[in-house]
């Protein structure tokens, strides 16, 4: 083997353990090797098409187009004005309103964005961590509802000391969500029941469970006949972060959750196992890992995260339980996780973006009359472009430089 040994000297390895690449280096690589870039381009492209729709739906542009042959510049000018005013309104409604006279009022739109982003981030993490374990968690909606029921019930029935009540209520919500998610994980592990089917069905069960609970005395607000719960006790409310906005402590909890998920996935033995199972259950089994236990655990964690989203909605944003407490957040969470490429910090970024779109859409409609549905179209287009990377690459003429690592679009339903 003399030749072979001599060959060794040329290869890496040896005495010094190689250092981990620096954060900035990794960030740079991520930005240049495609995935992050593709995401950004997808958003840009979706906003561009959204702009086109704004133009087409604006009656003033239609009017100007009527005499296009005489004065084409009018059409273009109106079109430009239509798009720019709509998107400017969206900016004012989601980030900063420079027209306001006080700092607090000027950044209030940002607070709205963060409030909207809170449940999207928490529930997005629920979808992301399941995805990293190779599971498609379509059940964030149901898990949010259960979390809201758990946290809300503790919030408006129990009577506990100030800090304790809040902690117990949040944990109650997390636990209820974890149980709901765990059911799907357990069924998958034990019987092989596909988690997509099970979680979709559990969504219905959760929705109607909530509708039923709101009809019984324990959940009804005194003196009201509509299905609405009492307000949660003040001791169980997530405190507002500053006066005059709904932004509450739940946002910081969501960021904390992202940090925990990041730590779990990259720094802990549990995350190592979950990722191994997610990428290749066969190799994981052969290495002595229990795939069944990993599935159950991942779905419990996922359910807990979605439960946190529910708790934050009921204890922070709404402060009471109603049948619309989730309102499709769990489905937007799937989009958020997809946009964040199942990465904790990516999910935070995507949650912020979607929160901003939601907040901005309201202002946009109020100020320019642009239909709020445009934002839904933009959201859907983002998903479409993310799901079809070759399309975006073709449009922007990007060459494939590296293969995506576990990018959501690379996996099908059987992932």
């Amino acid at each position: 083997m003399s030749e072979q040994e001599r060959g060794t000297t040329a290869t890496p390895g040896g005495e010094q353990p190689p250092q981990e690449p620096s954060v900035s280096h990794r960030l740079w690589r991520e930005l240049t090797t495609g995935n992050a870039m593709l995401t950004v381009l997808s958003v840009v492209l979706a906003l561009a098409i959204g702009g086109l729709l704004i133009i087409l739906s604006d009656p003033r542009v239609q009017q100007a187009a009527g005499y296009f042959a005489d004065r084409p510049s009018d059409t273009f000018a109106t079109a430009w004005q239509s798009v720019s005013s709509a998107y400017a309104a969206m900016f004012r409604g989601s980030l900063v309103d420079f027209g306001e006279y006080s700092v607090v009022r000027a950044v209030r739109p940002l607070a709205a964005t963060l409030t909207n982003a809170t449940p999207l981030i928490a529930a997005g993490l629920a979808v992301a961590i399941a995805f990293r374990t190779g599971l498609l968690n379509i059940g964030a909606e149901g898990q949010i509802i259960l979390g809201a029921i758990g946290a809300g019930y503790i919030g408006f029935t129990m009577d506990l000391p100030v800090v304790v009540h809040l902690v117990v209520a949040v944990l109650g919500g997390v636990l209820a969500g974890a149980v709901w998610g765990g059911i799907a994980g357990f069924l998958k592990a034990r019987t092989g029941a596909h988690e997509v089917i099970v979680t979709i069905m559990l969504n219905y069960i959760a929705r109607f469970l909530l509708a039923y609970l709101l009809t019984i005395a324990a959940f009804r607000r005194a003196g009201r006949s509509d299905p609405i719960s009492p307000y949660v006790a003040e001791s169980a409310q997530l405190p507002r972060l500053f006066e005059g906005a709904r932004l509450h402590l739940g946002f910081l909890l969501a960021l904390l959750a992202a940090a925990v998920v990041w730590w779990l996935l990259t720094r802990s033995t549990i995350g190592f196992r979950l990722r191994a199972v997610g990428f290749n259950p066969h190799a994981a089994t052969t290495a002595g890992m229990s795939v069944a236990r990993s599935y159950t655990l991942a779905m419990c964690i996922a359910g807990g995260l979605a439960g946190l989203a529910g708790a934050s909605q009921v204890l922070g944003t709404e402060r009471f339980l109603s049948s619309g407490i989730s309102g499709g957040l769990g489905f937007d969470a799937i989009t958020v996780a997809l946009l964040g490429r199942a990465n904790p910090w990516g999910t935070v970024a995507a949650g912020l973006l979607f929160g901003a779109l939601r907040a901005g859409a309201v202002t946009m409609q109020a100020e320019t009359g642009t239909p709020i549905d445009i934002v839904l179209v933009v959201q859907s287009l983002i998903v479409l472009f993310i799901a079809a990377p070759p399309l975006v690459r073709a449009i922007f003429r990007i060459r494939v430089r590296s293969r995506g690592l576990g990018a959501p679009e690379a996996k099908g339903w059987e992932a």
């Binding site: 290869t11 890496p12 390895g13 353990p17 995350g271 990722r275 190799a283 290495a287």
Partner: protein, 527 residues
């Protein structure tokens, strides 16, 4: 038909898979294309068969340049290909399979099955194929299925037949029959391009040998060259084909398997009452044709599933009924058959894969925390020790070559103290250089007094490593014979003959590739 390739160049990005390759296949010759995995043989044949377009160069048939835009063009020009993995519809009959893609019709769109049947009988008779046109393909033995593939090509009037690793799935006796067929075909003027990395077969059948390495033709070789000469041409440096196993010194029985029976998910009895011992410092090779229960046997040992009965004692401790994790913790090292599926997580880095079954133990974890520094220093150490050629320890395992992937698996499994090493097909798909390395490692482990159980379908490998060879056929043990048993005898045992019968028959009917008389065995001079 004379076929020429002139200056074929094929690039994939910056990788030059075929670099200015020229070769000529004369009418009626067996032209062997020899090279390691990744040498560019398959790329070249895909170009020839119209599956991919060359960046430069031309294909010339009977002095006429041709251009193929797909396999149909290639077939029309008289080129047929038998792929390594058969392209047959299992539930169709032979005739239906042969018709597929070029269905003859009798007006009004009606299939003319009878015409095809007649053609199949004709060809079958001419070459002694013994193929029934109405047999359903899935019920046929692998060797016969391969003949159906050949018939498919011949029905389309192939004058040049490409056989891509045709012997990988055959017993030595079936291989011998295939070679008989190849001889007949060439006698009728058909040319054959025979792609392989098995040197023994090359020497038995080739008229001419072209050796490829790293996308280039590195030379022509004479069929009379020794295997060592061919191997060094292929690898580019002297290699020893048969690792000197040294002397083994088997001691006490460590692994005792008794009455092991496995029933799979489809209620098939896949391992039938198997009993054997493996001693400390001994290599036992389980030989047999693919799919005779060897895989299920090792999976049962590891606790991977199936319904299992019997007893597996490792140094007195029962292993059956334990989880994979417990079996691994009991000191069993396991090299799975399919490293891509079972051995590695492709999207994990080399460093992560090197601790795949150790990640939650000291020194790689403290409580629930991974210790990345330890994982990385471990990786750096193993990469050096096992000569793993990876860009860095952060390289994804899926991007490594097969040989380096296998080294990662071996490095991981051998990096903890073992009471038993189980390796299934440890050198499948590896190049000659890597095979040598893997064999040395396995022998080193044996010399370490570890009992070693190897499953191999390659009789050469079995002979090279084994102290004793256990042959399996249809889930049962045909016999356990000494490691130096003649290839012909082993070959017959893999077809189900009991050892005594096998010895008798082998003496009476030696094969081309298995018997010293044909120059197969005796001349491996160390380079």
């Amino acid at each position: 038909m004379k076929l020429e390739l002139r200056g074929i160049t094929k690039r994939f990005g910056s990788l030059v898979a075929n670099d200015d390759i020229s070769l000529t296949v004369e009418p009626g010759e067996v032209h062997c294309l020899l090279g390691e995995n990744g040498a560019g043989k398959s790329t070249l044949m895909n170009v020839l068969y119209g599956l991919s377009a060359a960046d430069a160069g031309e294909i010339v048939v009977d002095d006429e340049p041709v251009a193929f835009s797909g396999p149909a063009d290639a077939m029309a020009a008289g080129i047929g290909m038998v792929h390594q993995h058969f392209m047959l519809v299992p539930v169709f009959t032979v005739a239906e399979n042969v018709m597929l893609g070029a269905e003859p019709t009798r007006g009004a769109g009606l299939l003319d099955v009878e015409a095809t049947r007649a053609r199949i009988r004709e060809i079958s008779e001419q070459y002694g194929f013994d193929v029934d046109p109405d047999a359903v393909v899935e019920h046929l033995p692998v060797g016969v299925q391969q003949r159906v593939e050949i018939i498919k090509a011949l029905v389309r009037d192939a004058r040049v037949l490409i056989l891509d690793e045709p012997t990988a799935v055959l017993t030595p006796q079936e291989t011998d029959e295939l070679m008989g067929i190849m001889r007949q075909l060439t006698a009728d003027g058909t040319s054959i391009v025979f792609i392989t990395h098995k040197l023994r077969e090359v020497r038995a059948i080739a008229d001419r040998i072209t050796v490829m390495r790293l996308g280039r033709v590195v030379g022509q070789a004479h069929p009379e060259s020794t295997e060592s000469e061919l191997a060094s041409l292929m690898v580019g440096r002297p290699v020893s084909l048969v690792v000197d196993a040294g002397t083994s010194d088997p001691a006490e029985v460590v692994l005792a398997v008794r009455g092991l029976t496995v029933v799979d998910d489809r209620d098939q009895l896949v391992v039938d009452d198997v009993s054997f011992d493996v001693r400390a410092g001994e290599i036992l090779v389980v030989a047999g044709v693919q799919g005779n229960g060897q895989t299920e046997l090792t999976e049962a040992l590891l606790g991977l599933g199936g319904r299992v009965r019997g007893s597996v004692r490792l140094a007195g401790t029962e292993l059956l009924g334990r989880s994979v994790r417990e079996v691994l913790r009991a000191g069993v090292g396991f090299v799975p058959e399919d490293r891509r599926t079972d051995g590695l997580v492709g999207q994990f880095t080399v460093a992560e894969n090197l601790v795949l079954d150790l990640y939650d133990r000291s020194p790689f974890a403290r409580g629930p925390m991974l210790r990345h520094a330890r994982i990385r220093s471990n990786a750096a150490e193993r990469v050096g020790e096992f000569d793993i050629r990876a860009g860095s320890i952060d390289t994804l395992a899926s991007t490594l070559s097969g040989g380096n992937q296998q080294k990662v698996v071996l490095a991981r499994e051998l990096s903890r103290p073992l009471k038993l090493l189980v390796a299934t097909q440890p050198t499948r798909g590896l190049d000659v250089g890597s095979i040598e390395f893997v064999h040395r490692r396995i022998i080193a482990e044996r010399d370490n007094r570890t009992p070693v159980l190897i499953v191999s379908t390659e009789l050469d490998e079995a002979s090279a490593l084994a102290d004793r060879i256990l042959v399996m056929y249809r889930g049962s043990v045909v016999g356990i014979v000494p490691g130096d048993t003649e290839r012909d005898v082993l070959g017959l045992m893999t077809a189900g003959y009991a050892p005594e019968q096998a010895f008798e028959r082998a003496a009476a009917h030696p094969t081309r590739t298995g018997h010293p008389e044909y120059g197969g065995d005796g001349d491996e001079g160390e380079p």
